[in-house]
């Protein structure tokens, strides 16, 4: 059966936004783990193998695009769907995120019900 409340890795450097989104996702029934940058995100992915990753793109240490590309060439974690979550809302930003290997793309400010749908779709596709 489908697991709709799988573990979600939220990668976000802005503390305010990270806290807010964590609280809302938990209220929606998800288990949330967080990482503040791309480098940490990759090690968490390898360690915890989350069901889906919500990835901000402008990150310190290692940005979201690089982290995404590295995840896609790593046998152990390449199957984990990554949803780009960014304030870069232009068409070319979406193309760039998908080119880096993201499964889907959501813009900030977050349309929360839509984000939940995207997460559900990613989890379904994954399982």
């Amino acid at each position: 059966m489908m697991e709709t409340t799988g573990q979600i890795l939220l990668v976000e450097d802005n503390e305010v936004n990270r806290n807010m989104l964590t609280r809302r996702l938990e209220r929606a029934g998800h288990t949330v783990i967080t990482a503040p940058d791309g480098e940490t995100a990759l090690s968490v992915m390898r360690e915890k193998h989350p069901a889906v990753v919500l990835m901000d793109m402008n990150l310190p240490v290692k940005d979201g695009w690089t982290a995404c590309q590295e995840a896609k060439v790593d046998e152990a974690i390449r199957d984990i769907p990554i949803i780009a979550l960014t304030a870069h809302a232009m068409e070319e930003d979406k193309a760039r995120a998908l080119a880096a290997g993201c499964t889907d793309f959501a813009t900030k400010p977050v349309d929360f019900p839509a984000l939940l749908t995207v997460i559900a779709a990613a989890l379904n596709a994954h399982s």
Binding site: V16, N17, R24, R27, A89, T107, K108, P109, V110
Partner: protein
């Protein structure tokens, strides 16, 4: 072809007009030479014809004179015989006739003297002397003929023979000279004919050579021109026609083409530069819009996200935590204020660009202002774990007359920039005042800038790197606004920086408006 080369080499800098003049002059000279030779030939022919006529006339006269002398002698001999046998006197008419005959002979002799010239002079004189003697003897014969008692003596036979002899000598001499002259004239005619033919043929040859040289040199010039214009036409504006090869009109034309090419080149370069400028301005504006969009979305994300979350939590009263609720509202308010600052920046720059930004002067204490700004921005300072060193020379700080709001924004922007680009470092704000100006320096120990980045740091819509806005936030408007405000207040701003060693911005604002 060879002549053409020589002409081209000898006169490489002759203008087209010069070439045409030279060419026409040469043809005219050839024409004149031909005409002169032809005139000489016709003059020689004329001379020859005259000499022939003269020779013929002289020969006729000689023959006639000889005939006359023979007739007269015959007559005289007959008359002498008659006188001895019949003793009849001559009638007067017969005597008159005889005198007339002798006059005719004398006249003929005189006429013969007109022909000949120096060569015949001696011969003629001997003839003249002997013949005159003979005529005189015949005159005497006729005078004595009717006188009775006297026997008219016939002339001395020696005189007649002598005259005949002289006449033959003259005739021979005349013939000899006529032949000589005819030979000489024939030679002249042959020579002039030859010269005419040679001159005519060489004239044609030289004219042809000149025409070919003319065509070749002009054609070479025009070909150079054509090649150049074709190169220009195909877009190669660095090509230059060799303008040294031609003088005059063609050289001028080549120079004009070269100048045209230079001007076109400059115009195209200017156009390309202008287009590149416009393109980069457009690219900068697009980048700016993307950055503005990003920056607006970040605080909006928090505002909308927290509001929706609080709304959710309010609907579930058991979950409500007053302290948490208060903190969340504060977050919403802070994000709203960030949004407002951003919008104000954009509006400020827009006002500056359209010339609608006003300056309002007032008297205020800059020391107080600086302390207030630093206090207000202390949350920014702690965000990246930086420390502040405030170094204000309060003893020499007087009130100043300037735009308080603008100075406040200048310092705020510089301070928040320093905080944004520095991590775990130190921000130093120093200020001192002299007679003329307040100097404020904001120095940090952050990422710094390369010289190229420093050169563009005050330009609107620009940040040090394309993704600086992404890494550190901001729209790249802060420093552009700072510079514009400094200019409005009559002051200056300068930057010193090294990559990874921090940056130092120094602002000088006049104490009184100028």
């Amino acid at each position: 072809m060879r002549t053409a080369d020589v002409v081209t080499q000898l006169r490489p800098r002759l203008s087209l007009r010069g070439r045409l003049y030279l060419f026409s002059g040469a043809i005219l000279i050839l024409f004149a030479i031909n005409v002169a030779v032809s005139l000489w030939g016709s003059f020689a022919r004329n001379e020859s014809s005259l000499a022939y006529q003269e020779a013929v006339t002289a020969a006729q006269l000689t023959a006639e004179l000889e005939q006359n002398l023979q007739n007269k002698r015959q007559q005289v001999l007959v008359l002498a015989t008659l006188r001895e046998t019949t003793d009849d006197p001559l009638e007067d008419s017969q005597l008159d006739q005889a005198r007339a005959d002798l006059d005719i002979i004398a006249e003929r002799l005189r006429q013969l003297g007109n022909y000949g010239g120096e060569d015949l002079e001696a011969y003629y004189r001997r003839l003249h002397d002997s013949t005159t003697t003979l005529i005189e003897q015949w005159r005497q014969f006729y005078i004595r003929y009717n006188q009775t008692g006297s026997t008219p003596s016939v002339e001395d036979a020696r005189s007649y023979n002598n005259a005949q002899q002289r006449l033959r000598e003259l005739d021979q001499r005349q013939s000899f000279i006529a032949v000589q002259r005819a030979t000489a004239i024939d030679r002249t005619i042959t020579l002039t004919d030859q010269i005419t033919v040679v001159g005519f043929i060489s004239s044609i040859a030289i004219t042809l050579a000149l025409v070919l040289a003319m065509i070749r040199s002009t054609n070479a010039s025009l070909t150079r021109m054509k090649r150049g214009v074709e190169r220009f036409g195909s877009g190669d504006l660095t090509y230059r026609i060799d303008e040294q090869r031609d003088a005059g009109e063609i050289g001028d034309l080549a120079r004009t083409f070269n100048e045209m090419s230079t001007k076109l080149q400059t115009a195209i370069e200017e156009m390309n530069t202008a287009r590149a400028d416009a393109d980069s301005a457009n690219a900068a504006k697009s980048m700016f819009l993307a950055n503005v969009s990003h920056e607006l979305r970040t605080p909006l994300n928090a505002i909308i996200g927290y509001s929706e979350m609080l709304q959710d939590e309010l609907s579930d009263e058991t979950e409500l935590n007053r302290e948490q609720f208060h903190h969340d509202l504060a977050t919403i308010i802070l994000s709203g204020k960030q949004l407002l600052t951003l919008i104000n920046d954009i509006l400020d720059l827009s006002k500056i660009e359209t010339g609608k930004m006003q300056v309002s002067f007032e008297v205020f204490s800059p020391a107080t202002l600086l302390v207030q700004v630093c206090d207000a921005l202390s949350p920014l300072l702690t965000q990246n774990k930086n420390t502040l060193v405030l170094n204000i020379d309060k003893d020499n700080m007087r009130d100043m007359n300037s735009d308080r709001g603008k100075l406040q924004q200048i310092v705020t922007n510089l301070f928040s920039n320093a905080c944004k680009f520095t991590q775990d470092g130190q921000i130093t704000v120093s200020a001192f005042m002299n007679e003329q100006a307040l100097t404020v320096t904001v120095a940090d120990t952050g990422i710094g800038m390369t010289p190229a980045q420093q050169a563009r740091v005050f330009e609107a819509f620009t940040q040090a790197e394309a993704d600086t806005g992404l890494k550190y936030g901001g729209t790249g408007l802060g420093l552009a606004i700072v510079r514009e405000f400094c200019t409005m207040l009559g002051g200056t701003i300068e930057v010193e920086s090294k990559p990874n060693e921090g940056a130092q911005f120094r602002v000088r604002i006049p104490v009184d408006p100028a």
